[in-house]
Amino acid sequence: MFESVSGSNASGPIPAIAGIGLRFPHHRQINETRPAIGWLEVHTENYLGGGSTRRMLFDLRDTYPLSLHGVGLSLGSADGLDMEHLKRIARLVRDLQPQLVSEHLSWSTVDGTYLADLLPLPMSEEALELICRHVTQTQEALGRRILIENPSTYLQCPQSVIPEWEFLAEVIRRTGCGLLCDVNNIFVSAFNHNWDARAYLQELPAAAVGEIHLAGHALRTLNSGAQIRIDDHGSRVSSEVWQLYRFALSIMGAKPTLIEWDTDVPALEVLLSEAAHATQYLNAIAEGVHEHAA
């Protein structure tokens, strides 16, 4: 079924155009209407079983380039990778042959307990060595390069001694993996930790960026009166993040760009309009309309 995709939209690498995250409420509509979308990304953990859900993903492979975005491998686990989970992912990657495979610079599992969130990792030498070992182990198990995504964080660990952008650049240098640059996450973390978001982007190895993520976030006020931005993927991309995206494109060039929406998932048309908005920025870059860094 999925082997015979040559000549379709689904062959070749992910193009540097806009795609959307495929979520369950839109399965039927996308499967039946096959709207014009550059590519689709799914959460790997939702497709590790069999049955109709898996079948639909394999059917969509004939129409759309696909990206598998993992949320559960826990590359930062101090006590090692869950080898059973890695094997399940490897089987899906082998069968589906997606154009992209990605995971996060974070951890979720300790002592065999999965904590169901992308948790912050101390930016330490110990964590750097561990992440590099696990990225290499994953790339070997999958037989391909993966992208790792910069996290959104609400806490900075006291053991952190390496700036996050340097940590990412070093993981890329040591393992040969690529970067999934989440512009919303950079905006959120920069606000929460008082970093310079543009300087963060400028420090990243632009050539290693294989994908960009865009999503909405929420602004909350803590009891202390301080404000915090929360990466809830539950609204349209904010105007500040669109501006930061334009800046990112000006230094990285056009990259495959994904609209993510996971909380209160709206009508498909809303996602498509967000993707169309990203397309405008991508077209502007392709036409040579560059923003001059302030």
Partner: protein, 267 residues
Amino acid sequence: MSTLLEWQRSMRARLLGAPRPDLPSADAATDAKSTERYAIYRHTCLTTLINALRLNFPAVRLLVGDEFFEGAAAQFVSAQPPTSAYLNDYGASFAAFLAQFPPAAGISYLSDVARLEWAVSRSLHAPDSASLDPAALSALDPSQMSAVRFHPRPGVCLLRLNAPADEIWRAVLSGDEVAMAAVKLGNRPVYLLVERDERGTSVQRLGCVAGRFSEALLRGQSLNEALDAVDDGHVADGANEEVNAALADHLRAGRFAEFTTEGENEI
């Protein structure tokens, strides 16, 4: 111990355990605010896991209401958090938890409905697999037949329950209050066959003889042992026909992946 492992263990305690003001703050720069910052992660962790249970046990939730369900699920999550990031696999022991959960003691059928929903969820997400071709059995020497052990395909399951969980499950998911009111809680076991085919996952009730036979067979007992399970000294007339029909139906419906005979390694 590595400082990283120490940090991750302290996060686990903060996310799943009772509030722990004695744990060192992770964020030296924002000490005063750190409790609320941890709470963001704790909230995501708990809501994601409770939601996974909500998706796997929709009828249980409808039977007890949102608030009760969330309370029970939160206690279950703290006591038995998932061991894998594959959350379709999370909730195997939720039915047993509900059976021992004091606030649910008045709803005798709740854990049986949970057992059925777990079987349905397992079936829905089971890996795709090929069915045994019944013709393969014809190669066997007839003397070997009684020692044959069938191995069910993933997603095929036989439940023996005390409550008519299938009737309750259908009534509550379809919002059929008349059907719900008509459910009679008997004192005879109910045998439910859960499986998945091209059309989706289905639940069908088997009679007592077919149920006992199929339960033994699908548990990996030999044909002979499964026949013994039916024969408890007062076999009803027609039991043989019922057993033969059940076996034929299992083979025709492709519920087995393979079979082994005595002396072969089970796979």
